[in-house]
Symmetry: D2
Subunit: 349 residues, 4 copies
């Protein structure tokens, strides 16, 4: 009996797409059977991405639902916001399992989506159906399901860093301030002045301050965990580097908790989940320590003078913040070990 | 009558020292008469810094008080913490004007210094005598004085970004959270694993979280401005770039204030001070926009949802955060136009 | 008598344009009277370049010949290849002095231009009239002339590194191999995948190998100097940095010459020319040592084993390779000291 | 029957050492049984390299021959020049297989070693015994042998790029000029001003021009292949990036050969060797296309005007230039598929 699952990737010429390919090539139970691009169909994938020369020799397929349904069992949609909302229903209709990497199915409330994304929201029934795939927190809902909405990069780093403390009632949800920093690959492969080398190299800049579309995603989950509406302050910055996100989070402690107690709380919360690594008290992770891997590393600093805790969480935005977690969700969906195909050690230095 | 002031620079082989040289070379009223280094005396400065070839042909002098007194009228001490505390008294004793770039004379309370710097504090009388040279705020105290303690890089960016709002009572001082980021040149020229290229390139890391020695410096000034003791949360990060500091500051607004009102408040506060540029409402500065220059640029984002304001302030850490502000203080001290020698346009890109 | 020369800059929103502005602001005999952009006229220059906030408050003018003739005495055309060929004749016709930073007037032979640039060549008479402004070599032709074609960035670094040796007959012109490397700002401000941050950061790549349009420019000058047709091997690479060009040049020595002799030969050739600095024997310059300045630094390594010399020449591509040399040519054209407005020390680190 | 080979790594706290670990962790036939460091024994490896947290929990062993012999079957010595010469004989004596990553056993002539390395050479008999492990060229000698001297990073990129053409007699060995560029990780983890972030970021510099110790290694192999003594011109540069080497090579063609013919020649030469990828005619590889992987990618440009060919070869200096090729040699040594444990796709972007 052949246990290999056939996977198609829509958006194979984006950074999320090629990263899915990098990991799926080594996945023991998955075979890539179709790499798809609406803009470059008919071309060889490796012509645009020579690092894949002689590794993937496939030609890019067009976005053709019957063809996808014929070739694949599961589809990763690494498509822009607005595109997934239209494409995913057809893929589900065709009986395919879908893991969507866009923001189109993350927010349960279409009105909120429309406000922050400036797009028409997806179908309400599908919004309700989509499971929010923050693997370590909602993995039990992912298992056995056919449709997962993969979390955003910033929310992944931020939520994994906040949920255990919020859940335990150790921090005041109203006090949460999130100062996030991302490498430039998060802006995607589409050229723009923002991602133009000479503009961002040797430069550090803030963007979408208090306006980033990941804000309601973070608030939706924190509200659920806290059992009350949570509103956060959320700032995003661009770092002159390619990969990596750091979320530096500030909150007022409810009562007194030491760093050692926080370490213990988090280690218990993430017990058995290999991709979250909680640093020892007084040690903070750096983005390079998860480079190219699916890890999320977390550290703490409690300041007795102010009664606040600073929580630092890092991920590789393209891996745990996109392609890696998508594959982790596939593994969970299928009832497999969640680490299949993802056991790559961070690249250092 | 020759109006040229003769300047000596102790610590000429550090990044602050060579930056003082870069600006003083073009200063119309100052002449560099002695470049001094305790470790490299006798060598030609340009052998270690070939970018100065044929520009400065001087040999480095040793730290010799009578020689300095003979050669110079004013001394910039770009020396490490602990060294200035011992050196500056001798220079003042010798009748020299002194602008100290170390942290040794910034904190008025020697016990606080000792706690955060882990060094014995400087002489109490001198701590009292030193004027804290945040030029745009304490310039009137600098004028006519002979001894200025130049502010730290993080405090400069942070205080210029907070003081007008704190002073006006528009933000709650108890709510202040400062998330600061610096280029690696801030770590100086001494080699260490922290500043080792392969360790910091493509890496973003936090350090000294809640423990940075600039914390009490920020608190000392904010307390003075607020008229009550202020304790802040202060986090520092290293950005993979050479120059630049961004301070992203969060505070709860007292009442309702729009971004436009904040812009107006700050523009009035800094009226006539060329080196602070307040961006229009909704525009945030990036570090590259002040690269190599003495500017401090500031922008705002008010979030009505949370009642908080995010203030973003950027400087070049080696210029406005060190050498540039030191020269600005010399100008003010001497009663000159504060911009003399400092009118360089930021280098972009 | 007002001795201020009025200058207009066509292409003010490109990197060459804003660099012209950075230097001209400090020029004692020049005033910028019009900043011009075909694509952004009517907008404030500092809206697109916030580093110029409160420094230049001008609105961008359109490309309007009578207006330029009314406002300016000299025009810098920092325009793309193909555009200058059409624009410059009109400016000259209007009685303006012109310094053209494009490649349109560098090659004397229109057919060669067409072959390498894939554009129709400029008017033959104008090609003959244009003086090739390699300041240290052809400055005597620039003086008193009204129309200068400013050299390309690679040719500037390369020719200054080769001409003294070729001129003296110390190297075999047929043996010359040029391995050149440039920072990414050389690709300009137009967005493209080549200059997309995530594609070029942590990447080193060759481009246009044996096909770069600066090849015939180098050959034209070397042939002139050598007194015989010279064909070179020329390779260009992109370095993950913003500014700087290094040209590493290889040639077979005619007879035996030591590094010290080469240093002496070059120092004599460039006697009195401040912007060329010849390093001592066995010391090679790095691009950062000329960062943001108009210097060209040169060093040598003679290998007795092979009978070849390696010559290393560095410039800042936007300064000595574009805007800085253009101003140097203006100075020479006007009979002024060639260093006016250009005496900025390299920014280090 | 247990087929797992037990491996020890001396020099586990260097960049070569941790890269060996990154790959060996995923090797199906090897188990790391001892990580060794002379300077940090007794410490946990992951304390110094937090990216390995929860992946490797081992404490570092001292360099203790009997202990190594007890724990391991094969030893990788990622030790500095001069150290291996003394250590390797003891390891071989103890019956261990050895793959040495230093330069101590690459040169067959001890006098040449002494001249270029300024160290006393290793024992003559061992120099004769060591197999030079350029896998694709000398793999047949590696197979079944117990002692391999792993090639240097620059020689690997350079020799793989030159050998097929030299071997076929298509280029003139006397004309070879090699312009090589390396990321900064090649300088190792020991701190120095050369690898200090602020000194090398935004900087491009040459070093050891005509004096690099890899010169005789390249010449030794080319002489062997050419059947005559070959002397090359070899220049090395530092690129502001962490990983990657590009070797740009110039040579005069013997007769006429097109790029397509060169592609064909090289593809035949490397037939069946997965880690060399020859690009199509007119396409040149970039270092990022092999980032984090064991590939060596090669491209060509023939210039009919000069009769020269430009050959461009790229590797990841820490992988194919060190740890990866070392494991490839182990695989060949053991008679295994040479790709075992090395099938990682390059990390892009």
């Amino acid at each position: 009996m052949n246990t290999t699952l056939r996977a198609a990737i829509v958006g194979s010429t984006g950074y999320g797409g090629v990263e899915l390919i990098r990991f799926l090539i080594g996945h023991p139970k998955v075979q890539i059977t179709s790499v798809i691009s609406s803009s470059s169909s008919g071309e060889r994938l490796s012509d645009g991405f020579p690092h894949l020369s002689e590794i993937i020799t496939d030609t890019l397929d067009a976005v053709d639902i019957p063809l996808i349904a014929d070739k694949a069992d599961v589809v990763f949609t690494a498509t822009p916001h607005g595109v997934s909302a239209k494409l995913v229903p057809q893929l589900l209709e065709a009986g395919l399992k879908v893991i969507d990497l866009s923001g189109d199915f993350r927010l349960k409330d279409g009105a909120v989506y429309e406000k922050w994304y400036k797009h028409a929201p997806a179908d309400e029934a599908l919004l309700a159906q989509a499971v929010y795939g923050l693997s370590e927190v909602f993995g039990d809902q992912v298992e056995g399901n056919d449709f997962v909405s993969n979390p955003g990069c910033y929310p992944t780093a931020t939520l994994l860093g906040l949920i255990p403390a919020v859940s335990a009632g150790w921090i005041d949800p109203k006090s949460i301030i999130i100062d996030a920093k991302s490498g430039v690959s998060g802006a995607g492969r589409g050229t723009s002045l923002t991602a133009h080398y000479a503009e961002i190299n040797e430069n550090f800049k803030a963007y979408k301050v208090n306006k980033h579309q990941h804000t309601p995603e973070i608030e939706q989950v924190l509200s659920l965990v806290a059992g009350e509406p949570v509103t956060v302050t959320f700032t995003t910055h661009l770092v002159p580097m390619t990969r990596g996100i750091m979320s530096t989070m500030y909150a007022t402690l409810n009562g007194t908790h030491t760093e050692a107690e926080l370490v213990e709380l988090y280690r218990q919360y993430y017990e058995g989940r290999r991709f979250v690594r909680v640093r020892e008290a007084g040690v903070w992770p750096a983005t390079k320590e998860v480079y190219g891997s699916n890890y999320c590393d977390i550290g703490f600093s409690v300041d007795e003078r102010t009664g606040r805790v600073t929580i630092i969480s890092v991920i590789d935005n393209i891996v745990k913040g996109a392609a890696g977690q998508a594959i982790q969700n596939l593994n969970i969906m299928m009832g497999w070990d969640e680490t299949l195909g993802l056991s790559l050690t961070p690249v250092y230095p």
